[in-house]
Symmetry: C2
Subunit: 191 residues, 2 copies
């Protein structure tokens, strides 16, 4: 691949990692700090994110994503600053570990976001068949902030999905170039 | 890549596609056919999968996975029967479409399974903070069958995740072999 394109992809990888980290942090912060107290007939009730296990999972997944993204962004920036060639020996092992981490991150974030989305839809709409009542008519401000948090988590999750494809590209293209045209033909006949 | 390994991977791809299709079909069938009627004080109540929107989503995702897997398995088997070389021209486009489809399938199945798992845990345990009662003490047989369906969906989802990596490998290795050793060095200096 041409060197300018190579450099552009490095920049994009860094941007995506910052997106995952940034939106993940905002999502976790919005959900964790969310709380609303209401009084019903002199009985005080407080809604908080720990009332819904799926929101706890969302916070955990996004917290882990922030830490992981910071570490990976640092590696990324270091590799860009250092320039070429120094890491040839360990590149396959490194590419495998980055690939595994990014795949795990993307699937974990997507699963946590899907579960939280499902929970919060139940919280909003309820499930009349099971006599579960929606709570957003009572805790409107709480629900709005959770909604904003989940929206951020969706953005972070989509960036993580893109990143997973990036690192798959960076790993698997290392397996294409060893035997020249014969390999290319083999690759093509797969389909 | 060596030809025997190439052939082995084709067989594994076919096996994985059959796993996704098979377990997806069993999961959808278990959930769709699930129903339990109980009588409370001469009032008849019937539990069915449409009472929980997440189960409807699970059935839809697994149904789509079955159709997609059948089509892909047929393509796979045809390519294996035909042997090598006939599809060189269109291989990149084909690899891109298979890659996109498999990625979409893996993420959709995982998200649907996570949402269904979350819903069914709520159904089993309830959420006392929100006055949501668990229903599995009332509809035990219904819950058990849903649980078996979700377990099958988890297996199908894991197979879909593996498949997504397979097709990423098949796509991206096509981008490694065009410039010989210089490309390999470029790929390595990415990290």
């Amino acid at each position: 691949m041409a060197a300018p394109l190579e450099r552009k992809m490095k920049v994009w990888e860094l941007v995506l990692r910052c997106l995952v980290g940034g939106f993940g942090a905002v999502a976790a912060a919005l959900v964790v700090t969310d709380s609303q107290t209401r009084t019903f007939f002199s009985l005080e009730r407080r809604a908080k994110y720990t009332d819904m296990k799926a929101l706890v999972l969302l916070v955990a997944a996004n917290g882990a994503a922030v830490v992981y993204s910071l570490l990976q962004a640092a590696r990324c920036a270091m590799a860009m600053a250092r320039g070429g060639g120094a890491l040839v020996m360990s590149s396959r092992a490194l590419a495998w570990s980055v690939f595994s981490g990014d795949q795990l991150l993307a699937y974990a974030m997507l699963a946590a976001t899907a579960a939280a989305l499902q929970s919060s839809l139940l919280g909003k709409l309820g499930q009349p068949e099971l006599q579960w009542m929606g709570i957003c008519s009572l805790y409107g401000a709480f629900c709005k902030q959770v909604g904003a948090g989940i929206a951020c988590a969706v953005v972070a999750g989509l960036a993580a999905v893109l990143l997973a494809s990036f690192s798959a590209f960076n790993l698997f293209r290392l397996y294409g170039g060893n035997k020249g045209s014969s390999t290319t033909r083999n690759g093509a006949t797969w389909y």
